[in-house]
């Protein structure tokens, strides 16, 4: 309640919706404009001293990052009922991306980095401008259809697997036409929409090409309630991104179009409700996606904005794979509601999300499509400290040692959006490729609530050489997006070149209200994750022939390549190159990849939480909690080296989090505070098979390690894995004030 913009977004949209109906007297008086709004002031404080923006995390180049600063934003909600059949609503909103109090209303030098509000008055990110965010007219003609909404919407009335809340900072930035109707006393209902395809991200390479005027997603949904026991429905979505055809040279008869990206998703859903104790719900989805990858639109994105890559290389970035893909997804939920009448209920969910399931309009965050808690945000992407993360050198994506506070939300797309979040907000992670089962017993008796979870997850993305032996290891249709390493993974890396992974998640949490005074909330949680990934599991994929690197390092490695395809063309040696031999001949800079176990991953992750909360006064609630995180990770050791991108990986992580939360409400004004003190250690353990070296001045400066500290360079040479124990202390605080008017 006191902490996230997710809820803020929901509330804002709900506010627009609820402002719509006018009082009868208004109707009699004619059109009348109602104006409401909120103002939101946020204060971030952290000892990382980042002041890029008033958000704790973003990966968008040029948008910055920050854990310090104060800023204010304004949101105005407008609504008017023009007649009984026509309503108008709008929302205009300022943003405080770079709008610190200290930038004096956006004044300042014309900065070339636009960090910390140093953008100048005319840069939209710091000028405190106010912008139209959502504008819509809703018609209820009284015949043919129930209603038609023309304009902005969050389109959350569909399905997060197909068309979910389409968020990019705000929830109703998407625009389109929505028509809703019903029949048979509304037992049958249907919704149809045409949604303008967001050119910002809804296509290969996070764009919809150059010509975008007719790019749209078309959706149709219908539901039928047969009786109290049975209901069913269907949903179909088709997204169409077209460009001007390069082969149409006759302009006299107009210009032809050629498809750049197409995506169709069909869904069938049904629910059985047998009395009050048993609920069974099932959904089946099938997707088709085709991203034009024949070089029709050129061979380089630098020369042609419509270009679609034929391959994403080792680590490409795109919300959809290249080429043509079809796959299925299904989910079945069963709920047994207190069958023994003792307060014990059981939820069970079986699910399988296809490796090639593509839904460009699926929810990117704000939804949680699986029952499992999934992983936590505390060590995510790729954590804990990304300042040295090579890809974003100069524009580091920082969330800090503490990561995101909460457990993650699962979304059925690799188009995950965690941009512009603070540490106290939920983090979304992709579940593309996940399959498994979750058991979730819930016991409630008086002041006591206990809930548990056991999930077994394996993966449709368990494959070798991206699932295709006939392509080079750096020639893949799948975007890796930072690939998968670190304690609890990157949130958007569904695809790896090699994977043989399974995950067990066990959770037990409890809450009890001690009957003292106003009642003391005592809560706690224990969570355990065991995850193993053999990654490369067949010797034929090893990069080099047996004995290629002499065990005594007496000579350099021979680089005799091993090929995994029958034609002898493709080898993992183009990815897993051999190490250099140290000048003194004492060993190798990192361990040669000469055994299929060298890249194995094994994680034991535990967290223990205990806390208490109390309503101190009628208006003030506060809680204090302590959480200990223990992660023992072996992550490919030096053979895998996390592809050289991640700073703290293999070894023992011991993290402690002390959190103080408070919430204070006066009529119309809400104050929230969350302060965290995080401390702990990391003991690296990259195994053996190599000889550590010492950081020189260049490495020390670039990687923030002491001169002379032990470590080793990573395979691609721009990373450095320190072997020194790490001790970290991080404080961070977020406070806000939100006033409605």
């Amino acid at each position: 309640m006191n902490k996230n913009s997710t809820r803020k977004g929901v509330a804002a949209l709900a506010a627009v919706a609820t402002l719509l109906p006018a009082l009868p007297s208004f109707a009699q008086e004619g059109p009348r404009l109602q104006i409401g709004g909120t103002t939101y002031t946020k204060w971030l404080y952290g000892n990382q001293r980042n002041q890029g923006a008033l958000y704790n995390f973003t990966t968008i180049p040029g948008e910055g990052y920050g854990d310090n600063g104060i800023g204010t934003e304004l949101e105005l909600l407008l609504s008017a009922r023009i007649s009984s059949q026509v309503e108008v609503r709008g929302r205009i909103h300022s943003r405080f991306n770079q709008n610190f109090w200290t930038n004096f209303g956006g004044f300042g030098a014309q900065g070339d980095n636009c960090i910390g509000g140093n953008c100048g008055e005319f840069d939209a990110r710091s000028s405190q401008y106010i912008k139209l965010r959502g504008m819509a007219v809703t018609l209820t003609p009284g015949y043919l259809i129930d209603s038609a909404t023309i304009g902005a919407n969050d389109f959350g009335q569909f399905d997060p697997f197909v068309v979910g809340r389409i968020r990019y900072i705000d929830r109703d930035n998407a625009s389109g036409i929505l028509v809703q109707s019903s029949a048979f006393e509304r037992r049958l209902s249907w919704d149809a929409a045409a949604i303008a395809l967001p050119r910002l991200w809804a296509g290969p390479n996070f764009k919809t090409g150059e010509y975008h005027a007719r790019d749209a997603s078309y959706v149709f949904q219908t539901r039928y309630t047969l009786n109290d026991n049975f209901d069913f429905g269907g949903l179909f979505q088709y997204a169409d991104d077209r460009e001007i055809s390069l082969t149409d040279t006759n302009l006299d008869n107009g210009r032809d179009l050629y498809p750049r990206f197409r995506n169709g998703v069909g869904a069938l859903k049904a629910g059985f409700h047998l009395g009050s104790t048993l609920d069974v719900r099932g959904a089946f989805y099938r997707s088709y996606a085709h991203a034009e990858d024949t070089n029709y639109f050129g061979t380089s994105g630098d020369k042609n904005n419509s270009w679609v890559p034929k391959s994403f290389g080792l680590n490409g970035y795109s919300p959809v794979p290249a080429g043509r893909h079809e796959d299925n997804t299904w989910k079945v939920d069963l709920t047994l509601n207190d069958p023994l009448d003792i307060g014990l209920s059981l939820n069970v969910q079986g699910f399988s999300i296809g490796a090639d399931y593509v839904s460009i309009m699926a929810a990117r965050r704000e939804s949680d499509v699986l029952l499992t808690e999934g992983t936590d945000g505390t060590f995510a992407f790729p954590g804990p400290n990304n300042r040295s993360y090579g890809v974003y050198g100069g524009n580091p994506a920082v969330i800090g040692y503490g990561g995101w506070t909460n457990e993650s939300q699962q979304v059925a797309t690799i188009n995950v959006d965690n941009e512009f979040t603070d540490f106290d907000e939920p983090m979304a992670q992709t579940v593309i490729g996940w399959k498994g089962v979750t058991f979730n017993p819930v016991y409630s008796n008086g002041a006591l609530d206990i809930a548990g979870e056991y999930s077994y997850i394996t993966y449709n993305t368990n494959w070798q050489a991206w699932g295709d032996d006939n392509r080079g290891i750096k020639d893949t249709l799948y975007p890796g997006a930072e690939l998968d390493s670190g304690v609890l993974h990157n949130f958007r890396s569904a695809y790896q070149p090699f994977q043989d992974k399974q995950t067990h998640i066990a959770v037990l949490k409890a809450r009890y209200v001690v009957d003292i005074g106003r009642g003391v909330d005592v809560f706690g949680k224990v969570k355990y994750i065991h995850e193993s990934d053999k990654r490369l599991n067949n010797k034929k994929y090893l990069p080099y022939q047996d004995g290629d690197c002499p065990a005594d390092a007496s000579t350099n490695c021979q680089n005799n390549v091993r090929y995994y395809d029958s034609n002898g063309q493709f080898s993992t040696a183009e990815l897993y190159t051999n190490p250099n031999r140290l000048p003194d001949g004492s060993g190798y800079t990192f361990k040669p990849f000469d055994d299929i176990s060298d890249d194995d991953r094994l994680l034991h992750y535990s967290s223990f939480n205990l806390g208490a909360g109390y309503q101190l006064t009628d208006d003030l609630y506060a809680s204090l909690s302590y959480t200990k995180f223990l992660a023992d990770l072996k992550d490919g050791n030096t053979a895998f080296q996390s592809y050289g991108m991640h700073q703290m990986v293999s070894g023992k992580h011991d993290k402690n989090l002390v959190a103080l939360k408070a919430r204070y409400i006066l009529a119309g004004v809400e104050f929230g505070l969350e302060g965290q003190y995080i401390f702990g250690t990391f003991e690296p353990d990259y195994g053996g098979g190599f000889v550590p070296t010492l950081a020189d001045e260049t490495i020390a400066k670039e990687k923030n390690v002491p001169v002379g500290s032990r470590g080793f360079v990573t395979r691609d040479t721009y990373g450095w894995n320190s072997l020194e124990n790490r001790y970290f202390v991080q404080t961070r605080l977020k406070a806000f004030m939100k006033a409605q008017f």
């Binding site: 309640m1 997710t6 809820r7 929901v10 509330a11 949209l13 709900a14 506010a15 919706a17 609820t18 402002l19 719509l20 109906p21 009082l23 009868p24 109707a27 009699q28 409401g36 009922r81 809703t138 129930d146 209603s147 959350g156 009335q157 399905d159 997060p160 809703q180 019903s182 509304r186 209902s189 919704d191 109290d228 209901d231 409700h273 009050s276 609920d279 709920t335 509601n337 207190d338 307060g343 209920s345 939920p426 819930v442 409630s444 609530d449 809450r511 209200v513 106003r518 009642g519 309503q615 009628d618 208006d619 003030l620 609630y621 919430r663 409400i665 009529a667 119309g668 809400e670 409605q740």
Partner: protein
């Protein structure tokens, strides 16, 4: 020895009698499938409003000293999609209580946003507001929007949703009588974070359902903004569906002007006056 026997007898008697002394409790049931107000209401179209979210199945209230323990059952597993921290997000309930059974004693007007009234013989004396939002927010809203009756509005110290139950503990010192002697009406609505106008955190019912609006009513304020309620004898009998529809029947004039407002009765506890049960 004799003393010991006497002590054992006394202890046994005390333990056996304890529940009866500790808690005077009433329980009612409500039929499923009647979460349609006067028979025409439809849920909002956003997926957070799950089937059965506003379908009341049972209600119980127990008095323990100065505290009232309330339990509400719903025909769905509760969820907290808006992260209120209460274990539920979309539900909201108003429990009107007529403690004295005296005609003309109490209020016949309901709370703002519900658009119903009570028959004079069922004028309410206290109302418990169950909301997933914090007690502070609810109290603030009550103070600003229902100030005239705020002393009779009870806001629970604790509210939680778990499984299919919402439970709440209300501190109500000085409340006269026992639950079995009182009469009740439970009105089910939806929690609205940004209520319109003077509404007490209730969601609108319009002619056509929208993403966050109920449908099947009227765009004016002549329709009851109640999705489910207790009716008849409160036993969950199928006939209570019809009773509910009749109780919530309304008529609107042009532009949503009230012609006939829904007028509600209550369901009595075991010891309530027979004619008013």
């Amino acid at each position: 020895m004799k003393t010991s026997r006497l002590a054992c007898f006394t202890l046994t008697a005390a333990l056996l009698g304890a529940p009866a002394l500790a808690a005077d409790k009433v329980s009612f049931k409500d039929p499923t499938g009647d979460d349609n107000g006067p028979g025409t209401y439809k849920y909002p179209t956003d997926p957070v409003y799950k089937r059965g979210s506003f379908d009341l199945t049972d209600f119980s209230l127990a008095k323990k000293g100065d505290k009232l323990d309330v339990s509400l059952g719903f025909n769905t597993t509760l969820e907290d999609p808006w992260k209120t921290g209460s274990g539920f997000s979309v539900q909201m309930a108003f429990i009107f209580i007529d403690t004295d059974g005296k005609e003309g004693s109490g209020s016949t007007e309901s709370l703002p946003g519900l658009n119903v009234k009570f028959a004079p013989e069922f004028a309410w004396d206290k109302v418990i507001v169950i909301s997933p939002q914090g007690a502070s927010r609810v109290k603030a809203e009550v103070g600003s929007k229902a100030g005239a009756v705020k002393d009779n509005v009870l806001v629970p110290d604790r509210v939680k949703g778990s499984g299919r139950k919402i439970t709440a503990t209300v501190n109500a010192p000085g409340l006269q009588g026992e639950p079995s002697q009182w009469r009740y009406q439970v009105l089910i609505q939806s929690n609205e974070g940004f209520p319109a106008g003077n509404d007490l955190m209730t969601r609108k019912v319009n002619e056509y359902e929208g993403q966050h609006r109920f449908g099947g009513g009227n765009d004016g304020e002549c329709d009851p903004h109640v999705v489910d309620m207790l009716a008849g004898a409160g036993k969950g009998d199928a006939s209570e569906v019809k009773a509910q529809h009749e109780a919530l029947a309304f008529e609107c004039g042009e532009e949503g002007v009230v012609k006939k407002q829904a007028t509600l009765t209550m369901v009595g506890g075991e010891a309530a006056p027979a004619e008013k049960k």
